[in-house]
Symmetry: C2
Subunit: 144 residues, 2 copies
């Protein structure tokens, strides 16, 4: 998993790398992430946010991602063979569905039971991830 190295070098890690200013770009990016309700790639974010923040650059997207990650308000969503997406932190444990048509990722709730039983002897289980593959409603021609 992605591990952002911390900044706790001294006794007091008082230097929180928070955003100090509320800019239009940052607000728009954060709103897009909240409203999407599914993991977005940096490019997804750029495209969605540019409608409300003309001229937005990709660097600002990456900077905002980094800021929100260190703030703890954003988490990485890694899907096999894919570049990382990001979604807002704080959701309860869930998994993801990737559409083979549009490649978009969707949150799914629930969790397979007895996943611990899959763990072979001698292995210590600490976490798991399930990815479902198929076709999403829009790509099957169904209404949203």
């Amino acid at each position: 998993m992605v591990d952002d190295k911390s900044y706790s070098s001294g006794a007091f890690a008082e230097n929180r790398p928070r955003s100090k200013r509320r800019t239009r770009q940052r607000s728009v990016i954060q709103r897009m992430l909240l409203e999407a309700n599914r993991p977005l790639s940096p490019h997804d974010i750029l495209e969605a946010a540019q409608a409300k923040a003309p001229g937005l650059g990709i660097a600002t997207v990456y900077r905002t991602i980094h800021t929100m990650m260190t703030e703890g308000t954003l988490v990485t969503v890694d899907i096999p063979g894919e570049a990382p997406r990001y979604e807002t932190a704080g959701k309860e444990h869930h998994h993801h569905f990737q559409c083979r048509e549009c490649d978009d990722i969707f949150d799914i709730q629930g969790c397979p039971p007895d996943i611990q039983k899959l763990t072979p002897k001698g292995f210590r289980l600490e976490g798991h991830q399930v990815v479902l593959y198929g076709v999403c409603p829009p790509c099957t021609g169904m209404p949203t």
Copy 2:
């Protein structure tokens, strides 16, 4: 993808060689993949094979991977956030365990029951992948 039809496909799937010469390098790489019994990265393959094939270059590893993929004797194993590994084809349906200490991937048998129950309405399920995370026996200090 390269598609070479210059061979008459025999009755048996194993008898459709795409490589024309049996070289030391290729033999060693294939043996490493068979003996590893777990997915290997190109770099893993390089390191393992160099012991038996001195001077082996990374290009040959990639070429052999490509050859075996088109032969159908090798399949990709994609783990979230990781570069692809490769394992020999023909294994029955299984999933993987990644050790958080050494990052190695291990095959695990079995499959969570009722996985289609996780699929939300309107989605068509076509496949799934489960990745377990934790610590492998060697990294817990247990004997192999």
